[in-house]
Structure formats: structure tokens, C-alpha cells
């Protein structure tokens, strides 16, 4: 216990500095986000605890380097090795002391972040802090373990750092290169389909670096299994560090390695990532690239050896060892190519397949669709769908083998509805095979999937209302949140009553519904909201069209209710002035969307007219539309607000400002945000002006008006 407490004391300076930095950074970063205007989205765990990601590496390495700093000076090393404490115990005393500081820092930082989010009423996934604490402690300790191994093997800060990087990143870099190479060769594979030993997120420390370039794996990383695996890896590496530490010779202090042979081994390991570039598929294997890469690697090898050995003869003698990583890279390259082809052509026997499932093509997104999360759980065991997926698998493989990509022929019956979906084949032996397949007839696939009751339920079920944290970009703590309540409730009710499929991607695609602006397809707006289920965040948007007229009506009411004043008179004046703007800063932007326009084919359609001009426009490109805009504006002046989505109505959005004849501006001197306004049957303008600093334009509240 005493050596442990002594180590805690010894690490207190570094520990405290990092503790304060991390806590302060957590507070500052959280505050910055929480008090910013645009904070109405559910942050990912990484974004919420960003300073802890930095701490993972800084904390892990600095604590190890400080804890084992006595190993880099001969006098210090001798002193510590003279103390009456077993080497093993000394190692673990330092390790547990570092763990204490790391745990305290992560805990305090997470706590402060959570407090800031809670006090400022900023939405977050409540499970995140609970996951963040073990996650970042394990990640930092994993980095610490790598640095501890390096410190136990080497005796200078420079070589300690180099070996830390080798221990921490080299195995993962090799793994990443192989995974990337196999994926790029197999084509039908994705990062989600990798076996666990090739999955870069299993190591949660290096995984954080990987997801910077492979964002699709961001959510994957925080899974419990990865934390557990990394914990096991940490413990294993710490035992390895303890093993090296107990066998370390005190005289290694101030020396890069025990001898020149070990030094050469380090040099070989350090250049391995360079020569592995081909394996990952990042570089094509042309002669120029091969010469370039192997030349650069050789240069690095010679420079490193010259710096550490400081003896030209020894450097020359070590040169043949350069061939070892070079040959290894060549072997890995051919291995990766062969594996990629083998993976691509791996086809299970049809009789082996017991089910297929669809993890969802949005699994690569930061946030998923709620329906995808439900569909992912469904196992399709029907013969038809399994056969269809199996045939698609063989077709895809055949095409990729022939052309290098999926060169499909359009199925005339599919209405050109081609979809690409990740598919998992469940085999009778309990294993699974996952591939990304292109289905040439998406409608057929959807029909087959519809036969499954769980799937049917999944595509008809909207996210539970109590899990929703934002609506229309407004979070649950915002007073504006309540405004869309009626729309969402009405929409939910209508979807349920009419058994509609609210998710557009799961509807049958027909030639008819390509005309999105006809009859019931006329779109009034989009309902957007996000929330979370457990650890997974979802984001969904639903079109509000005439299939749900009550929701449309509620939508129109919400839009019009949002504004208490309108400016149609100003719009009219600016429209008139736009015929010949007096000032170069004058401008107008207006969109008129007309609904339920009767067409000769007995359809009712929506049409939009967009008119935009600005003072400095010498080309007068939109000049011919001014008369139409003026006419529509006049029409608007005679109209009255409405909430009837089946009526012939017009939805107007505009912004602009113009200089009048008396050299006074028509329109406010201040910018006006679009405020949802709804009024009863007044053609005039009135408005609740929200001001902004920029002194430019007037923006008219959006409104629906009944055309009289």
C-alpha cells in the first residue's frame, strides 16, 4: 500500500496538471456548445466528451513517462532498483497510481460535462456519461500500457516515444491496412462486415484515431464488447510491461536499446507502416510507386539507424535487415489480394442459409432512421426472400468478377427501382456472412419483406414520442418545442389510422409516385425530429403531404401561427420597385408555391415560382418574371390565410429590401427572420419582427394563403 501511495504522491504534479486541464477543457468545450445558438442536435459521445479523447493519449503517455521517468536516467534507475521493493510491485504501484489519476480525471471531466449539459438544459443521451467513464479510463490505460512496455524496453525519452507508437499503433496499422486492402479488393464488403480480429474499433484507443477517417465506425466503437476487449488487452499489455520491467537491466537507462540488434529491430518495426502502404490499397502497385515507397522506407531506416547507432559501420551492417520488413510487406500485399478475392467469392450453400437480415444502408450514418434500427432486428426466414437475396449475391459476385463493379441490367418490372442494401446471411452453424448487395428490383424485395409481420410493424411504426428530443430543429427544453406538438400528434394519429408507411424509402415505387407534386403527393413540408433509443441516436424526417390532410392542416396552422405580423404590403412595394432597383444593395427573393392547381388531366398539382433580383444585376436575367411576381403579389393581397390543404392556396416565402423614390428603404432596416405566422383572412401585412445585426433585408414570415 505504501509504495502505491508514494507513487500517487509522485505522480501528483503531472496528474494534477492534467486533471485541471482536462476538467477545464471539458467545462469550456461543453459551455461553448451549450450556450451556442445552434445546439439543437444530439451530440455523439465523442463530440460530447471531446477533451477526454485528447486526454486518452496525452494522459496515458504522460502518466507512463512520468511514472517510469526514473528508467531514463542511470542514477534514478539505480536508485529505484536499490529500493526494497520487488520490481513487479514497483511496476504495479506506478500503474495503479496512474490508474487512480486517470480515473479521477475522467470521472471529474465527465461529471463536469454532464453538469454543464444539465444546468444549461442541453439535450444529450443520458447513457453517454455512464459509458464515457469506463470507455475513456480503459482507453487511457491502454495507451498507458503501451507506453509502459516502451519504458520497460528502452531507456531514452525519444526511443520510449518511438516504441510507444510502435506498440500502440503498429499492430493496428497492420490490421487496418489488411482490412482496408481486403475491403477494397472484395468490393462487396464493408467495414461493418469485418471479423472481430480485423475490426479497427475493437481497440478503443486507436479506434478513436481510425474513426477520424472512417466516421462510419463512430457508433460501433462504443459498444460494450469493444470496451471489454480493450480492457482485456490493457490487462494483457500491462502484464507484458510488468514482465519486461522485472527483467529490465538498470544499465539500459540512457540507452535506446539493450544492444544494436534490438535497435535494428525497432528500426524495422518503424518502417513497416511505410512499406505496408500497398497492402491497404491506398497506393496502386505501379513500378514508380513501388520504387518510391521502398526508397522512402530505406531512407527512413538509414536515418533512424544513423541517429541511434551513430556508427556508419553498424548502420551498413544493419542494412540487410531492411529487407525483412520489405519482404513482409510484399507477403502481406499478396495475402491481402488473395484474401480479398476469396472473401468476394465466398458463397455459402443455399441449404446452409437459415435467414437473411437487413442491417440498413443508413448504418454508416452518424444517426440512423428509427425504422432501420427496428428492421435490423428482423430475421427473414421465408424461402422467397432468402432465394432472392441468394441469387442477388451470386449475380453481384459474378458481375464484380467480370467487370470489377456491379454492372446490372435494369429489370423492366422494377420501374428502375434499384437499391443497394447490406445483407446478412444467417447460416445453420450459427455464423453469419454479410455483404453489400445491389437488388435490381427494390419493389420485389420490399414486397417480400412486407410478408414478414415484424418488418411490416417496423416500417409502420414511428419513433416513440417520449424518445424524441428535437422537433423541427428545436430541442425539448426550448419553448418553441411545443409549437410542432399538434402536427406531430396529428401525423402519428393519421399514420396509425391509415396504416401508412411514413418512411419514404420503404414505400413501393411506381411510375405514378414519381410525380411527387400531384394530388396526394403534394408536399407541404417536412417533419424532422431526432431522439435516442438506448445508446443509438436516430434522426427521421417525414414528408407532410395530402395523404395525411389533418397533419397538413396542422402544419399550415403551425406555420401561420408562428407569425404575428406580416408584410405583404412591403412585398408588393418591393416587387414593384424591383422593376428598376435604385440601389445596388436592393434585392428580392420570393418563392410562391401554389397548391391544388386544377390541371386539364383532372389532377391537382402544386407548382412553385421563384423570383429573385438584386440591384447590381446588370444582366437583368430575371427581368421577364417581374410582371408575374407582381401579379402573384397582388393576388396575395386579396387572399386570406387558410388551413385547408385541399383548397387552392399559396405558400409564400420572401426576403428583400428596396430603396424607394424618397430614398428611404422599403422594408425594415433590419434583417427579419422568417417567423411562422398564421392569421385569419387578412390580406395585409403584419409581423413580429426578430432583429439581427445585419442591416440589409426584410424577410417575410412564411405563410399559407387562400387564393381568392
Amino acid at each position: 500500500m505504501k509504495p502505491y501511495l508514494e507513487s500517487v504522491r509522485r505522480l501528483s504534479r503531472t496528474g494534477l496538471v492534467l486533471f485541471v486541464l482536462s476538467v477545464v477543457a471539458s467545462i469550456v468545450v461543453s459551455m461553448q456548445y451549450c450556450i451556442s445558438q445552434n445546439n439543437s442536435r444530439l451530440l455523439s459521445l465523442t463530440q460530447m466528451f471531446l477533451p477526454l479523447m485528447v486526454y486518452t493519449f496525452a494522459g496515458g503517455i504522460v502518466m507512463a513517462f512520468d511514472g517510469f521517468s526514473f528508467l531514463t536516467r542511470r542514477a534514478d534507475s539505480d536508485y529505484y532498483h536499490s529500493l526494497p521493493i520487488a520490481r513487479k510491485n514497483l511496476f504495479w504501484a506506478v500503474t495503479f497510481a496512474a490508474l487512480t489519476w486517470i480515473a479521477a480525471t475522467v470521472l471529474a471531466s465527465s461529471l463536469m460535462t454532464t453538469i454543464v449539459f444539465t444546468l444549461t438544459k442541453t439535450i444529450f443521451v443520458p447513457l453517454y456519461p455512464l459509458v464515457a467513464v469506463p470507455f475513456y479510463i480503459v482507453a487511457a490505460m491502454l495507451v498507458f500500457a503501451a507506453a509502459a512496455i516502451a519504458c520497460s524496453l528502452s531507456g531514452t525519452i525519444l526511443t520510449n516515444l518511438a516504441i510507444t507508437l510502435v506498440v500502440l499503433f503498429l499492430p493496428r496499422f497492420i490490421q487496418f491496412s489488411i482490412a482496408r486492402g481486403v475491403i477494397s479488393k472484395a468490393i462487396l464488403w464493408s467495414w461493418f462486415d469485418l471479423p472481430w480480429y480485423l475490426n479497427p474499433t475493437t481497440n478503443i484507443a486507436t479506434g478513436q484515431i481510425v474513426v477520424l477517417s472512417r466516421v462510419i465506425l463512430k457508433n460501433e466503437m462504443f459498444q460494450f464488447v469493444n470496451i471489454a476487449y480493450s480492457l482485456v488487452l490493457t490487462v494483457g499489455e500491462l502484464f507484458l510491461g510488468s514482465f519486461f520491467f522485472t527483467r529490465r537491466h538498470s544499465e539500459v537507462a540512457e540507452h535506446g536499446a539493450k544492444n544494436a540488434k534490438v535497435q535494428t529491430l525497432f528500426a524495422c518495426l518503424l518502417i513497416l507502416p511505410v512499406v505496408l502502404l500497398f497492402s491497404s490499397g491506398v497506393m496502386s502497385a505501379t513500378w514508380q510507386n513501388i520504387l518510391l515507397v521502398f526508397g522512402v522506407a530505406l531512407g527512413c531506416f538509414i536515418i533512424y539507424q544513423t541517429v541511434v547507432l551513430r556508427n556508419a559501420k553498424k548502420v551498413l551492417r544493419s542494412l540487410p535487415w531492411y529487407l525483412v520488413p520489405a519482404l513482409l510487406a510484399v507477403c502481406i500485399y499478396f495475402g491481402v489480394q488473395a484474401t480479398g478475392i476469396a472473401v468476394r467469392n465466398e458463397i455459402p450453400e443455399r441449404s446452409e442459409i437459415t435467414y437473411v437480415s437487413f442491417p440498413g444502408s443508413d448504418r454508416i450514418s452518424d444517426t440512423r432512421s428509427y425504422s432501420s434500427m427496428q428492421i435490423e432486428k428482423v430475421h427473414f426466414t421465408g424461402k422467397d426472400i432468402v432465394d432472392y437475396a441468394y441469387v442477388a449475391l451470386m449475380d453481384n459476385i459474378d458481375s464484380v468478377n467480370r467487370y470489377g463493379y456491379f454492372n446490372y441490367d435494369v429489370d423492366p418490372l422494377s420501374s428502375s427501382y434499384i437499391i443497394s442494401e447490406p445483407v446478412t446471411f444467417g447460416l445453420s452453424n450459427g455464423t453469419t456472412i454479410s455483404r453489400i448487395l445491389v437488388f435490381t428490383n427494390g419493389n420485389l424485395l420490399n414486397t417480400m419483406r412486407n410478408a414478414n409481420s415484424e418488418y411490416y410493424k417496423a416500417i409502420h411504426t414511428l419513433p416513440p414520442l417520449d424518445s424524441v428530443r428535437t422537433r423541427q430543429g428545436v430541442d425539448v427544453f426550448d419553448k418553441e418545442y411545443i409549437k410542432s406538438e399538434n402536427v406531430i400528434n396529428t401525423f402519428y394519429q393519421e399514420v396509425e389510422e391509415k396504416a401508412l408507411i411514413p418512411y419514404a424509402e420503404f414505400r413501393q415505387h411506381t411510375v405514378d409516385n414519381n410525380y411527387y407534386n400531384q394530388n396526394e403527393q403534394q408536399s407541404f413540408g417536412y417533419l424532422t425530429y431526432s431522439g435516442y433509443v438506448g445508446m443509438v441516436r436516430y434522426y427521421d424526417y417525414f414528408e407532410i403531404n395530402l395523404e395525411t390532410p389533418n397533419a397538413c392542416s396542422a402544419w399550415m396552422k403551425m406555420k401561420n401561427d408562428g407569425s404575428s405580423k406580416e408584410y405583404l404590403d412591403l412585398l408588393s412595394q418591393i416587387c414593384d420597385a424591383s422593376e428598376s432597383f435604385l440601389d445596388t444593395s436592393d434585392s428580392i427573393d420570393v418563392t410562391f408555391t401554389l397548391y391544388n392547381l386544377p390541371f386539364s388531366d383532372d389532377t391537382k398539382q402544386s407548382m412553385s415560382f421563384y423570383y429573385s433580383r438584386y440591384g447590381g444585376d446588370t444582366s437583368n436575367s430575371n427581368g421577364q418574371y417581374v410582371e408575374l411576381a407582381k401579379e402573384l403579389t397582388k393576388l396575395l393581397l386579396k387572399s386570406k390565410p387558410t388551413t385547408d390543404p385541399n383548397a387552392l392556396c399559396i405558400y409564400t416565402q420572401w426576403s428583400g429590401r428596396a430603396m424607394g423614390a424618397n430614398h428611404e428603404y422599403i422594408g425594415a432596416n433590419e434583417m427579419i427572420y422568417p417567423v411562422s405566422t398564421y392569421s385569419e383572412a387578412y390580406p395585409g401585412t403584419y409581423g413580429d419582427v426578430v432583429r439581427q445585426r445585419r442591416n440589409r433585408h426584410v424577410r417575410q414570415p412564411e405563410r399559407f394563403d387562400l387564393l381568392l
Binding site: P3, F70, D78, P84
Partner: protein, 305 residues
């Protein structure tokens, strides 16, 4: 008791200690003398379990030292290059010692800091070289171990402090019966400090003896004869150095002083005078006799002719 048997330690191609054997009894002050690179510091480091022997063994009270906390709890080491925690003071260092040495005495620490007039709260990096050595000595003595190892202990200490350290050490040896092993180049310091002295050469102990014996076993003889003579006239006498100038010869002889005097007297010399040697002279002559050349200042252990 410290026992070393066939103790060998190599650093790459350099053999620092080769087949070293020695016994250091309990309750004495044992001095280790040797030229640069003779292996003194290496021996102390092996005794403290810092290094692992390549061959042979070193034991304290019968137990192997390397990575053996039970044995190491009886030993404290004050190296030539001192270690202190960064930005620490003596109080902080005392906490470190207290956490490692079960017998550490805070009373003793307080008493010694008062005796040495050191401020325990003052940062150690503001101490002079000598003060730092005093601080390290105080901390080591406060550990109350049975064995204390000092490497170049008196380096940097002023004469007053040297005496203070020596007397504190005597007290410890007498009161607690502890054993002190000291290396130093200052033979004069060891002469009046140590009970036993060992001479290290080429990684091995050439001889070890109690100081009094060592000083009497080697002596200088000045002799002159009326007739011509050479070294052969003194057959049967172990002569380490023979320097004849005219009829007068100065010799360094190893052996019994009375016996040697009697033997030479029988040769009827015109002049016969027996002179005592300082310990430093004894050391130099022993080393010369072993072939160590002082003409080669660059020569190091393991490289001598």
C-alpha cells in the same frame, strides 16, 4: 554478512567484475579501494540488487539480493550520483524512504537534520553539492538498515562535515552493529575510517585485510652497502619496488617487518632504515606490483596490461 562468490558482471564486452570473492563481516566499516573502472561501484550495485550478476552470486545474511525485497530492506545505498525527486525537499524524500524502508525513523531523521543544520523544508535543488550529499547520507542513516553502502561518500564534503559523517557512521556501527561499505579514492579518508580495506583490481579483489595489517605488511627499507650489489642480494624477501641510486637503495617490501629487518641486518649494510608507508603509498605500490601503469592515465578497468 555479505558474501560474494565468483561474482561476475559484464557490460557488453567490458568485464567489470570477474570471479570476485569476498566476505564482509557484520558490524564493521569496510573500505573498497581501486582505480577508476576497477569495479567498485559495480560491486556496490550488485550488493544492492541494482544489477543482476551474470555469473556467481552475492548474498546478504544468506539471501540473494537481486529482486529480493526481504534482503534489500536491510540495505540502503548512497550512490555517487545522487537521486532526489524533482522539486522535492528533505521532508518529501523522507516520506519516500518511509514508504520503502520499514525501519525508517523519523526521530532519527529530525535529529540528524538538526545535527547537520540542514533545513528539511528547503528545496533540494537549492542545496550545494555537499549539502545534497549530507541530505542523502541523513536519509540513508535514518532508514536504520543493517547495511549501508556509500559510493564516494566524502566527495564534495568539507572537512568539518566529513568528520561529522564519519562520527555519525561510527556511532551507528557501534550502537546498532550495522555494517558500512564505503568506496573512495581518498585513501586517507578510508585509512582512519575503515576497519577493513579491500583492493579491487581488474574486477577482482586483489587482497583484503584489516587496515592495521595492511599498513604494517608493506614498508619501505633504505639500505646501503660498501660493495657493489643488486636485487639478488635480498633473495627470500618479497620486494615490490627496488630503486638503487649509487650505493643507496630504496625498497618496498612485503612481509613481517621484524623478520625482514633481521634478514637484511645479517647482510651487514652500511645503512639500514625501516620507514612506515601511508595507506596511499601501500595502495600505489600494490597496484604497481600488479602491473597497473600510472603512466597510462587513460587506462581503465579490464584494459590494463
Amino acid at each position: 554478512m555479505i558474501k560474494a562468490r565468483k561474482l561476475t558482471k559484464r557490460f557488453g564486452e567490458v568485464e567489470a567484475l570477474v570471479n570476485l570473492n569476498c566476505n564482509i563481516p557484520q558490524g564493521c566499516i569496510y573500505g573498497l579501494v581501486g582505480a577508476n573502472g576497477a569495479g567498485k561501484s559495480t560491486f556496490l550495485r550488485l550488493c544492492n540488487g541494482i544489477y543482476q550478476p551474470d555469473e556467481g552470486r552475492v548474498s546478504i545474511n544468506g539471501g540473494e539480493v537481486f529482486d529480493n525485497p526481504a534482503v534489500k530492506a536491510h540495505c540502503v545505498f548512497v550512490p555517487d550520483e545522487l537521486y532526489f525527486l524533482p522539486q522535492s525537499n528533505m521532508l518529501r524524500m523522507a516520506k519516500l524512504y518511509e514508504s520503502m524502508y520499514p525501519q525508517f525513523s523519523n526521530e532519527r531523521f529530525t535529529e540528524l537534520t538538526a545535527t547537520f543544520k540542514l533545513d528539511p523544508a528547503r528545496p533540494l535543488n537549492t542545496f550545494s553539492k555537499g549539502m545534497r550529499r549530507q541530505a542523502a547520507t541523513i536519509l540513508a542513516l535514518s532508514a536504520m538498515t543493517d547495511y549501508i553502502f556509500f559510493d564516494e561518500t566524502f566527495d564534495g564534503l568539507d572537512p568539518v562535515m566529513r568528520n561529522l559523517v564519519k562520527h555519525t557512521l561510527y556511532d551507528d556501527v557501534l550502537d546498532r552493529g550495522c555494517t558500512a561499505v564505503i568506496t573512495s579514492h581518498s585513501l586517507r579518508e578510508l585509512e582512519d575510517t575503515c576497519d577493513q580495506l579491500a583492493l579491487l583490481y581488474r574486477g577482482g579483489i586483489v587482497f583484503e585485510s584489516d587496515v592495521q595489517n595492511l599498513k604494517t605488511s608493506l614498508f619501505k627499507v633504505q639500505v646501503a652497502f660498501s660493495d657493489e650489489y643488486d636485487k639478488s642480494r635480498f633473495e627470500g624477501t618479497e620486494i615490490l619496488s627496488f630503486n638503487k641510486q649509487g650505493s643507496v637503495t630504496n625498497m618496498i617490501i612485503r612481509g613481517d617487518r621484524a623478520e625482514s629487518k633481521e634478514r637484511i641486518s645479517k647482510l651487514n649494510p652500511l645503512l639500514l632504515e625501516i620507514l612506515p608507508l601511508t595507506l596511499e603509498e601501500v595502495f600505489l605500490y600494490e597496484m604497481e606490483a600488479l602491473g597497473y601503469s600510472f603512466e597510462e592515465p587513460g587506462a581503465k578497468g579490464g584494459e590494463r596490461k
